[in-house]
Assembly symmetry: C2
Homo-oligomer: 433 residues x 2
């Protein structure tokens, strides 16, 4: 009986697995060097947990299931609710600031499309307990640190940064009341994704005053901090929002990543839970979806039943990233092919015992090693098997072993060397684990 | 709103995550050095896929869900069906032998108990395309190679090995017809888990002949290959089954792991799909469930719509293993605590820019580094923060930087050193990725 895989999922054969591991190992390495500690939660949580942050709309994008007691569960579509739950559970005993990362496997019951699958991996970094914009700078720095590490430069990607606080301050300075902000944010968030006419019309529906719309459109088309400096006039009590994003850009340039970053007020981020700095990384041509996005979410832990503690973070999925890295040809250069350090071949069947011994000892010393399961097929076939497995060296066990000698063949050059048995092992040493 | 985690799942805070990573990294390292390549499949598959191998009983142990088209899916309770599906899909293009490993996250909708959770990780190694018992020896060797690597010795664990082929040959030699074997296997599999009286009774129900039962019980109480040699008398056409397990033990001793292995005919393995050598690893006291189990399953690929290709493999979950390693005190010795290589402290606020620069450069060179988000809190508080983060060294940026010098403090000894700025970087070099 032949059964296909479920649409929108992936089979990771060894070559695809090598790519996945390369991406994820990079995420982990960069997280650790940026001082983040790893955590993870369960693949499923109670369904209602995902509604707290994202409302009831999320439910139809979830894979839901039931436990044996009939309780509604769902496969996690993101890890932030789990993070909030876990941090709240131990809020008093965890040293602050909490600087955590995770690489969860996530699920969305959507129609699969380019860069969006039903099952994917997402790098998450979060800093909890710091209201200073320095934490936002750290999150953006770590994000760029990774993208730079895998070979992307400012010719490939840009980090678009804005501030919801600044946007709110600006709208308030136009006389728009606080309770109108959320629906207007939702419209402004669409600017780069709908045709200009549609956008205009959506804005008209929210704001009757043409003059205000004109000013909003002017604000939305700013492209740098100096332009913002010239444009913005805020009352003193709203000034901190402006100051904050200025300091952010200064910090990012001190950290040496300023040239990746642009001020872009069209970045609003759809989700209502963002409260301050927001950002997205895009490829410079803007042909793909965002590579990642993040920002400040100071109310989330409270929304999950904990105290009011500031937080900021970022999430980067593997699907869009992989498309971009493939387009740029970065895998071919960087993902290493399967390699075997030693293949132990048998030239004379009476010595088969020695083949197993040598292979076992190589492995104990942490060198990858194989032998043929068809040792009687002859040396030529075994060497071919070694080549198929991309072996670097071949140890040939033949009558020389009676004189305590091994033949070691370099598979790249074809050179063969007769080596004293004990000398072989003392030269080899042990590979660190 | 406070929501608890789902029962039978685990939250991995950084300390628990370190243990999980240590276990999984070990599995991966040992797999690679034993010449296995990594693969993975989706977390969910069509429900019916799991019924092929394990029958309808499995359904109530599954977390089932539906896709948007209403098709029945299930979270994978094991990865072998996915392995069979994936190998069958590319059977003609994959080089043989296929030697693959995976560390899937798996799910069972059972009542959680000691060593059995609803969500767990399992190391799987499989060799496909080899009928020689050498492949079974390799699987057992790799299993022991890992257990030895994490610090377990033959004083801690034993590998119990038997053969379904041998058991079948023996039962047939007693005149038991082939079609009666499967239900008798199911009873014999229970021997070590039910009281002797219950076992006797179950056997009586299957086999009316007291003399045959006596002989079966004698066979089942054999404890070594020499005992088997004295006991067994098989007709010539059944001799290969006996020969095979003898060769297996010889190979295992050639590989240097013979002293971990015992012949134990009570190992039958519950699942009907095993066809030859079967084995389990237990702690020597037999107080825990099996640490892992495996064996030969030559019909599985055919059952999944592929060709008849021999296969053998092993699965080891993380839960029982973790209990055993904890009992033996092996985590305390081996799992390293969180460590930060550098903490960059600010002694004078006018140099904050330099703190960000230095931290960014350390990270670029692949050293883990942090600075304080409260740099104005004073040097003493920053050093305390560095200690909390278990920093090895602290770089103190103060007025010395005006003379191009840094203060480097060794956090273990408390020693401070004044280092020339350029010399610091040239001494440091770059840490390999």
């Amino acid at each position: 009986m032949k059964i296909p895989p479920v649409k929108g999922t992936r089979d990771f054969y060894p070559p695809e697995m090598a790519v996945r591991n390369w991406i994820i190992d990079g995420w982990k390495k960069v997280s650790l060097r940026n001082g983040f500690e790893e955590y993870d939660g369960p693949i499923f949580e109670y369904l209602k947990m995902f509604q707290i942050k994202s409302g009831d709309e999320i439910v139809e994008q979830l894979f839901s299931l039931k436990d044996r007691g009939g309780r509604e569960l769902a496969l996690r579509p993101e890890i932030t609710p789990t993070l909030a739950r876990m941090v709240n559970q131990r809020i008093n005993s965890l040293p602050k600031p909490i600087k955590w990362f995770s690489v969860p496997r996530l699920f969305r019951a959507e129609r699969p499309q380019k860069g969006r699958l039903r099952e994917f991996f997402q790098w998450n970094i979060d800093i909890i307990g710091v209201d200073d914009v320095l934490a936002d700078a750290e999150v953006i720095f770590a994000t760029i640190d990774y993208l730079r590490e895998v070979g992307l430069s400012r010719e490939d990607i840009k980090v678009k940064i804005s501030s919801r606080k600044l946007l709110a301050a600006f709208l308030k300075s136009l006389g728009i009341p606080k309770e109108r902000l959320e629906p207007i944010f939702a419209v402004l968030d669409k600017k780069s994704r709908v045709p200009p006419d549609t956008f205009s019309q959506m804005l008209d529906e929210q704001i009757p005053d043409k003059d205000k719309i004109r000013k909003i459109l002017e604000f939305m088309s700013l492209t740098s901090i100096p332009e913002l400096d010239d444009f913005i006039k805020l009352p003193d009590e709203e000034f901190y929002a402006y100051n904050e994003i200025k300091i952010l850009f200064t910090n990012l340039s001190f950290m040496g990543v300023g040239d990746f970053c642009v001020f872009d007020p069209t970045i609003v981020r759809g989700l209502a839970y963002y409260t301050g700095i927001v950002f997205e990384v895009h490829d410079v041509t803007d042909n793909l979806r965002a590579i990642c996005g993040g920002g400040r979410f100071d109310n989330l832990l409270r929304d999950f039943g904990g105290p009011l503690i500031p937080a900021t973070g970022m999430g980067m999925g593997d699907c869009v990233l992989e498309i971009l890295l493939r387009e740029k040809g970065l895998f071919d250069k960087k993902v290493s092919k399967r390699e075997l350090e030693y293949f132990v071949a048998l030239a004379d069947r009476v010595f088969s015992k020695r083949v197993y011994e040598i292979t076992a000892e190589l492995r104990r010393r942490n060198f990858s090693a194989n032998f043929s399961y068809k040792p009687l097929s002859g040396l030529a076939k075994q060497l071919k098997e070694a080549s198929t497995q991309n072996a670097k060296k071949c140890i040939i066990v033949g009558s020389e072993i009676e004189n305590d000698q091994l033949v070691v063949k370099n598979m790249a050059t074809g050179e063969q060397e007769l080596v004293d048995y004990d000398e072989f092992w003392s030269r080899l040493g042990r590979q660190p684990g």
